[in-house]
């Protein structure tokens, strides 16, 4: 049973979607059963994951570091493509993020009157594709799932977006198509230069690509360097890294809260995770050689995005920039390549995703009640303010998310951020100091925003804001609870990540 658990987990959400198609509309006129079915299939895959994590945790025999529960089938023999999935500490923690966020999103869309069915089906398709990308051990399978993951997102944005959704959807499609094209070229080059031709990550790891060349119209090009460049740019585009973060701005303005959360706190962390996977397993030498450049790009990201965030007057754009800035911090951790920094990077992806999801969902809460997401008008007047007087529970819950995003003690963010700083300090002390410094500035303006929204002068539209509804309470408090738990008792998960990270790191040194 356990061998099939990963596969089961990947395809349970898809099964949920397919089951919906079978139920005739007459049997379930109010969509009640369908809603529960969506939630159940999303939860069920999460349950599989927790089983897997527990078994990973109690696994002591054998090679503890290597990926576990490998399941491999031949898929297309002519091109040596196989269906191969496995789980280790790193993928388990990113999958945890996915399996927490999607049930929450389904909860967010619970009361949607039209299109409930469409939104939830697309969320589940997205969940399947992201799980697939995270667990794949075969590059082709990984690309297959990852490239597909842009399709549900495109539909979500283009169907349920705001007034200028066409341009947002178009920008998203163009950037993801370019990113997929770059990855596809890299993939075919890697396949072609491996000997014998193949896609299995295990067989390609450990610098097998070093020294292989390909000639493009007379120029001889080293495959590893070229493919690494393509892959980095490809994932940077999908991770909305500066200077490729343009699409995220328009998506954050146009997409509704739940879709924005799906992009910002699931799709982007998965993109970063995949970059870690590729960089550490396939191109260890190049990553080690370029580590300074990676760190510099990370520093530029968190500084530039942080400065941009400070000037935003729109809650979602603010979050988008915070997300980019957080990705920059993670990138520093990837570039530094010490055990604490890698562990911190993965942990931070998880915790930051949860924090941004919380605040993103709050932006949906405020948009539903006041019809706007601008907390400050252009002339400096407060548009949303004094929410805490009418909605004390919301204020409390959002405080937890904000604390976690800022990395203050007691929240999960503190663990991730401090590990990153500790890991960075040993080799790049200046960068570590910059990280702390920028965190302090971020704390200043984010807390300022928090003060304006919750305790400031009451805005025109915020006079009659109602507090959280029961469903909202349910998922937001659960989310906040998870963040606090990750901040108080991080040891088991950190240990899992550390062990799997250790397996990747020796190849780098």
């Amino acid at each position: 049973m356990k061998e099939h658990l990963v596969t089961l987990m990947i395809f349970l959400p898809l099964a949920g979607v397919i089951l919906q198609l079978i139920i005739p509309r007459g049997l379930d006129p109010k969509n009640n059963f369908k809603r529960w079915m969506f939630l159940f299939s999303s939860f069920a895959s999460g349950a599989c994951l927790s089983w897997l994590i527990f078994s990973l945790f109690y696994l002591t025999t054998g090679d503890v570091q290597a990926p576990k529960f490998i399941e491999t089938y031949k898929w297309i023999e002519a091109y040596s493509i196989s269906y191969s999935v496995a789980i280790d500490g790193l993928s388990a923690s990113i999958a945890m993020l996915i399996s927490i966020i999607f049930p929450v999103l389904i909860g967010k869309e619970w009361d949607r009157s039209t299109g409930n069915y469409g939104v939830n089906s697309l969320f589940l398709l997205l969940q399947t594709s992201l799980y697939g990308a995270v667990f794949s051990q075969d590059l082709f399978l990984l690309f297959f799932f990852w490239a597909f993951s842009s399709v549900p997102l495109y539909f979500l944005i283009s169907i349920w977006g705001g007034r200028e959704k066409e341009s947002a959807a178009f920008r998203f499609m163009v950037s993801s198509a370019i990113s997929n094209a770059l990855l596809f070229i890299a993939l075919i080059l890697i396949y072609y230069s491996a000997d014998p031709h193949g896609f299995l990550m295990g067989e390609l790891s450990g610098g097998k690509l070093i020294g292989k060349t390909v000639s493009i119209s007379g120029m001889t090009i080293y495959v590893a360097n070229f493919a690494f460049l393509l892959i980095s740019v490809g994932f940077a585009i999908r991770a909305a890294m500066w200077p490729f973060n343009g699409w995220l701005n328009s998506v954050s303005e146009q997409a509704p809260a739940s879709i924005f959360v799906a992009v910002c706190s699931v799709s982007i962390p998965v993109s970063m995770y995949l970059f870690i996977r590729f960089a550490y397993t396939l191109f260890p030498e190049i990553t080690a050689r370029l580590s300074h450049i990676i760190v510099i790009i990370g520093v530029m990201n968190f500084i530039i995005a942080g400065v941009c965030a400070a000037t935003q007057k729109d809650l979602r754009r603010l979050l988008a920039y915070i997300c980019t800035s957080g990705i920059g911090v993670v990138l520093v951790g990837i570039g530094v390549m010490t055990s604490p920094s890698v562990t911190g990077a993965i942990y931070d992806l998880l915790v930051q995703g949860l924090g941004i999801a919380g605040v993103g969902l709050f932006s949906g809460f405020i948009f539903e009640r006041t019809g706007q997401i601008y907390f400050q008008k252009n002339n400096g007047e407060a548009a949303i303010g004094g929410v805490a007087y009418n909605a004390p529970i919301a204020a409390t819950v959002v405080a937890v998310f904000v604390i976690s995003i800022l990395g203050l003690p007691g929240s999960g963010g503190f663990i991730g951020k401090s590990l990153l700083v500790i890991g960075t300090y040993s080799s790049h002390p200046v960068v570590a100091i910059l990280m702390v410094f920028s965190a302090i500035i971020a704390a200043y303006y984010i807390l300022n925003v928090y003060r304006v929204i919750f305790f400031g002068k009451e805005g025109v539209n915020t006079k009659n804001v109602k507090d959280l509804k029961n469903t909202e309470k349910l998922y937001l408090i659960a989310l906040a609870g998870i963040i606090l738990f990750l901040g108080v008792y991080p040891a088991p998960l950190l240990e899992l990540i550390r062990i799997s990270g250790l397996q990747l790191l020796p190849t780098l040194r």
């Binding site: 898929w75 297309i76 283009s158 169907i159 959807a169 499609m173 596809f184 070229i185 075919i188 119209s217």
Partner: protein, 492 residues
């Protein structure tokens, strides 16, 4: 020639008989209620399909003094063309664009075109191939201009006629040059004769360019692509898909045989070829392939008509197919055949759904389709899947087809071509996303219009087309295996 030979061409004989039946029945028609034209045609096509399977079991053979080769390639293309004909007839039954009183003529033309395609796939005699291709395209003139009062249809018919006359002249001239220097008309004899005393480089260049131009026209690729988007837009919607896929595949089958026999020879490694003569003709093909891929994708970007947009996407797709030919390898041909198979279903699917919409809206303008799509959500989802399949997005089988083509291109060092191909694929994905946006963009709004009433037969037919694509995405391996096997029995 013996009686035995006739058994091998039974499918073609059945097709010809079907044409006769329908004609005779139409002459004797005196206003009875039931005419059964389409049913007769379907029975004929079904029998022909059965016959081609039976004939295949007898193994490969050369018949009629070597003027036809009945081999794996023939088998594949017979299945493809007869299947295409059957799907087109079924989809025309329900379409409002085909006038029921003139259905007999329409069906005869369609089956005749199908017959021409089948013969051109098996012809190894250059004159027979020429005639068969002309039969299929000439029937296409009438089919394209079938709705007489529809100006774009008339334009398409005129364009395909003028273009084809020019292309036929090129082909005849090229073949005449070959005949002048070898004195043979049979491809095998020509091949043997060329092996012993080759053409000079200039002669090869001239013949190659002539034959290539002549093949480029029915393929609908740059520089002779102009008819293909026009036909896609102007012809009645079921015919659009028939002509787009059918003529292209017929030309591809004939082109494969011609080019492999005239300009290539088997290499020492099994399943590979090398160039015959001194001309580096794969380079010319590569240029044409890359220009068509980019050109089609870029122009698709600007279209306002859904059918025309598909037409340009197909120009780009056909350009990609050429990549499989220029590598001179069995795997390339397998990739071409796989792509054709996928395209057959996906393209008919797209045009079928568009014809459902067309019957309601009387237009295929992207802006106006918006109003229809939100009333017919299952059809829209199917349409999106078909389009994704054509542009090659995962998880559709189109993605595997594209991958097979790209992989083989890189294997033979065509890395620049590969980059152009992936670039044009990206552009066509973006172009297709414009089409898709117009389909789904209005879905989110609250609306109170009634759902579009789609005939349940039409809906079932859409699912029938959708099912093999979904299955093919999972079981790619058996299809590739089957194609690889049928390639082994080609009598070049």
């Amino acid at each position: 020639m013996s009686i035995q030979d006739f058994i091998f061409v039974l499918p073609e004989i059945f097709l010809a008989l079907t044409i006769c039946f329908i004609l005779v029945a139409e002459i004797t028609y005196h206003g009875e209620k039931i005419r059964l034209v389409s049913a007769t045609a379907l029975v004929g096509l079904g029998t022909a399909l059965l016959q081609s399977v039976i004939v295949m079991m007898k193994g490969p053979a050369r018949v009629f003094s070597g003027s036809m080769a009945i081999d794996g390639l023939t088998f594949f293309f017979r299945i493809l063309f007869i299947g295409l004909g059957a799907i087109t007839i079924i989809s025309s039954v329900t379409s409002k664009e085909i006038n029921p009183t003139m259905r007999a003529e329409y069906t005869v033309l369609l089956v005749a075109s199908c017959l021409g395609m089948c013969v051109s796939a098996s012809a190894t005699d250059v004159v027979l191939g020429f005639l068969a291709l002309q039969l299929s395209i000439m029937s296409g003139y009438f089919l394209a201009g079938y709705s007489k009062w529809h100006p774009p249809g008339n334009e398409a018919a005129i364009k395909i006629m003028i273009g084809n006359v020019t292309a036929a002249a090129f082909l005849a001239y090229g073949l005449a040059m070959i005949f002048a220097s070898t004195g043979q008309l049979n491809m095998q004899d020509i091949h043997i004769s060329l092996m012993s005393s080759g053409l000079s480089q200039k002669e090869t260049l001239m013949t190659f360019v002539f034959i290539l131009f002549a093949i480029c026209f029915p393929l609908g690729i740059f520089p002779f692509h102009f008819w293909s988007p026009d036909v896609a837009e102007g012809a009645p919607t079921p015919v659009s898909s028939f002509l787009s896929v059918g003529i292209k595949s017929a030309a591809l089958a004939l082109g494969l045989r011609l080019i492999m026999a005239l300009f290539a020879q088997p290499a020492l490694t099994l399943g590979q070829w090398q160039i015959l003569g001194q001309l580096e003709w794969p380079r010319i093909l590569a240029v044409i392939s890359s220009v068509s891929m980019l050109y089609g994708a870029l122009l698709a970007f600007r279209q306002q008509s859904a059918k025309r947009l598909m037409g340009y996407l197909l120009v780009s797709q056909t350009g990609a197919l050429l990549m499989g030919m220029l590598v001179l390898d069995d795997r390339g041909i397998t990739a071409i055949l796989f792509n054709l198979l996928v395209e057959l279903i996906a393209v008919t699917g797209v045009f079928y759904v568009l014809s459902v919409f067309y019957d309601e809206a009387k237009t295929d303008n992207l802006e106006k389709l918006k109003l229809i799509t939100k009333r017919a959500i299952p059809e829209t989802i199917a349409l999106i899947f078909f389009v994704m399949c054509i542009v090659g997005l995962p998880p559709t089988p189109g993605f595997f087809g594209k991958f097979a083509l790209f992989e083989i291109a890189l294997r033979y060092g065509w890395s620049l071509l590969l980059i152009v191909a992936i670039l044009s694929m990206t552009i066509s994905v973006i172009a297709a996303s414009r089409l898709i946006y117009n389909m789904v963009g209005g879905l989110g709004a609250v609306y109170s219009e009634r759902a579009l009433v789609v005939d349940s037969w039409r809906r079932v037919f859409i699912y029938v087309l959708l099912a093999p694509l979904v299955v093919a995405a999972v079981f790619v391996q058996p299809i590739f295996e089957w194609l690889g096997k049928s390639i082994k029995f080609i009598l070049w």
